[in-house]
Amino acid sequence: QQPVQSPQAVILREGEDAVINCSSSKALYSVHWYRQKHGEAPVFLMILLKGGEQKGHDKISASFNEKKQQSSLYLTASQLSYSGTYFCGTGSNQGNQFYFGTGTSLTVIP
């Protein structure tokens, strides 16, 4: 039931771009993205709802393809503050469960 994320880890230089993918085996009605800094709780970044919406948050944006049950997070012109572990979270029409993905560790270096 847990969504699968790829890649598992990525290292970027400041200013480079990255894409993180999230894939679910269940039909989805929403996808969330969260970022967790070391030693801290995950923090909500954005939500995407059915309809293929693309939402943005500063230089971070995401897309949701409900047909393919996939979402992608796009980080452009990465900053040092983007470092952390990114999780997608998925809700389905089949209940109240909310599952988080396997996580992607992102490290931005100067």
Partner: protein
């Protein structure tokens, strides 16, 4: 400021002990969740509750039980702690998902070590 509070940041327990992890939220949220976080495995859902006294199993409920006697409090119970339950435990809460625009709020986590 919204808040999800977990009773302990760090716990060390002995094998076989009964362990209680407490979580309290002050946002009047219907949903509450317990996740376990291990390196490379992400956040795995143990149990969740969508109302007082209501609970449903997640992906890894074995060895755990939960209790929700009041809306604001959700407890995770390890009936007989084992070393393979050493992990970071995260509690979260949210409004009902049928609102479709809600988000999950997390506690700071409890790092449990079973020796």
């Amino acid at each position: 400021d919204v808040k999800v509070t977990q009773s302990s940041r760090y716990l060390v327990k002995r094998t076989g002990e009964k362990v209680f992890l407490e979580c309290v939220q002050d946002m009047d949220h219907e949903n509450m969740f317990w996740y376990r976080q291990d390196p490379g495995l992400g956040l795995r859902l143990i149990y969740f509750s969508y109302d007082v006294k209501m609970k449903e199993k997640g992906d890894i409920p074995e060895g755990y039980s939960v209790s929700r006697e009041k809306k604001e409090r959700f407890s995770l119970i390890l009936e007989s702690a084992s070393t393979n339950q050493t992990s970071m435990y995260l509690c979260a809460s949210s409004l009902k998902w049928d609102r479709r625009d809600t988000e999950a709020f997390f506690g700071q986590g409890t790092r449990l070590t079973v020796v």
